[in-house]
Amino acid sequence: MSELLALDFMQRALLAALLTGLAAPAVGIYLVQRRLALMGDGIGHVAVTGVALGWLTGNSPTGTAVIVAIVGAATIEFVRERGHAGGDVALALLFYGGIAGGVLLMGLAGQNAAKLQQSLFGSLLTMSPADLRYAAVLSVVTLLLALCLGPQLYAVALDAEFASVAGLNVRAYNLLVAVLAAVTVTFAMHTVGLLLVSALMVVPVATAQQVTRSFRMTMVAATGLGASAAVGGLMLSAWLSWEFDLQAPPGPTIVLLALAGFVVMWPVGGWLRLRTRRLAPFPAVPGPPEHVPTGMGHAHQHGPDCGHLAVPHEDHVDYVHDGHRHAPHGEHYDEH
């Protein structure tokens, strides 16, 4: 195993996985907060067109992917804000347009299916030093922005109307989240691939929030879980191919490891919530008053022939009076 870690490409892959695992949930948490968990997936589909465009025009696929992904993310954000024709329908249109356009352009560029599969499901082990530099710079910038602008991004994601009245430029911050998501998609392309990148943005957040109560703790736990899943998944896949000669692609291994974390954490969260509820004291609620005398001035004396319906009740007789029952109690009547 240590020989494996000494390999150049393996070290590059580990660093890329670590940075992706840290940055993807840090952006994804704002998408989950706004209930846009699938937005990363939509951007990933659109980015396929970007990659294909790069191959077709002879440019760097990563460069064109980042541009097309940002345009796609901004379009999704614009359509969502306008709210025309339903945000989810607009997202679906972009999904299909992106993936169909990508596959078509890739065919026109004369690329084979193996190359397409690399960008769809990741190719950590074929990363060049240039790819790594690019991914490292982008993920560090993304992580810094997501953390330093945290209070603002959090307020906008929590309640856009309130944030607007607090003087925050809601549109700019929403656009920033969309652009950060687009950038994350492209640098995570090598790690888990365009089709699985959304998992790394969403699953660690979903796992963390099973046991956390605050946004800050969710952020810390999600980035930790994301980094562990990315590094752990990569090591697992490398170990499987090293020791047993099994071809476990790193991208899916990382995502499945993250999902396994969720499956483990889910019952733990349920048990913790149940325990909190059981330990919480019941609120002090005054019991119903036992003795409610009728209002003053009840001069009327109920009797067998007073005209009020008499209802036998346990050891006494109630009289139905204006829609409620009067029970004799000493000198006066009680409301029943």
Binding site: I29, V32, Q33, R34, R35, A37, C148, L149, P151, Q152, Y154, A155, A157, L158, D159, E161, F162, A163, S164, V165, A166, G167, L168, V205, Q209, T212, R213, S214, F215, R216, T218, T276
Partner: protein
């Protein structure tokens, strides 16, 4: 605290109209609120009272007319730290857990500068806002674990954390029981003593009625009453969907799909 130019009204709408997709929601509203007033904006559902508050806060741009906050046109207004806003919500929870402290803390952003950590005065303001709504000791609780009334109080604390001079509340009493209403009345009463201007949108005033200096009642996007709070009976009357002396609906407003010919005959009959 107030400079010479700010002796005028705190909120002012001049000839303000709002239409959404061509449908008029507010029609030529003139309203000005002076500093320190406690104004209740009343009206039936769809009367435009929430839209009026949204127009005042810039969430819904006016289609004609002008809106001013502290004497500055809304488009040039930048001093948002002076404004507090409690939006109409049933829940304060989002897709990710958040603690009471965090939600209330986001109300302090209007006074915090970008990329600076929260200062001591920020933390004090948040703590005091949480205490003002009676949730001290619950700072670390997840917002989703609170009851509806408690979540509403968190949203009010969030607005208080910014220490606003002008506070808009959109239906803060919706789904809040009597005890919580009374505690809210206590909070707003203290703000009133401090000289905060309050604009409250409400369907029913309940425990807040004694605080109200001025009642503005709206119907169909117009102000139909502006002055003292009417008695319960009058209020109920004026909130009614239709007017009793309008026995016959206006011909120009109501399409008579079923009997267009009869309508034309009756109109012709009037002229002949």
């Amino acid at each position: 605290m107030l400079t010479g130019t700010e002796t005028g009204p705190v909120v002012e709408i001049r000839d303000g109209s709002v239409s959404i997709d061509g449908r008029p929601i507010l029609r030529q509203i003139d309203l000005s609120v002076n500093a320190g007033q406690f104004l209740a904006l009343l009206g039936a559902n769809g009367s435009g009272k929430s839209t009026l508050v949204r127009a005042c806060t810039g969430l819904r741009p006016l289609s004609s007319g002008t809106a001013l906050l502290f004497g500055t046109a809304l488009s040039n207004f930048r001093d948002w730290a002076r404004i507090g806003f409690v939006p109409q919500r049933t829940s304060a929870a989002g897709g990710v857990p958040a603690s009471v402290q965090e939600v209330v803390g986001s109300g302090r952003l209007s006074r915090r500068r970008l990329l600076r950590p929260a200062s001591r005065s920020d933390r004090t303001a948040v703590r005091e806002a949480i205490a003002a709504v009676g949730l001290s000791g619950r700072e670390g609780d997840g917002i989703a674990t609170l009851s509806g009334g408690e979540q509403q109080r968190v949203l009010i604390a969030r607005a208080l954390a910014g220490e606003p001079e002008l506070l808009f509340l959109d239906e803060p009493m919706a789904g809040v029981d009597l005890a919580a209403q009374q505690s809210l009345a206590g909070v707003l009463g203290e703000l009133k003593l401090k000289g905060t201007t309050v604009v409250l949108v409400a369907h029913e005033l309940g425990a807040l009625a004694p605080l109200v200096d001025r009642a503005v009642i709206m119907r169909d996007g117009r102000v139909i009453h502006d002055g003292d709070l009417p008695s319960d009976h009058e209020l109920h009357d004026s909130l009614r969907e239709s007017h009793h002396h309008l026995e016959r609906p206006h011909d120009d407003h109501v399409p008579h799909v079923g009997s267009p010919l009869e309508l034309r005959r009756s109109v012709r009959g009037d002229h002949e």
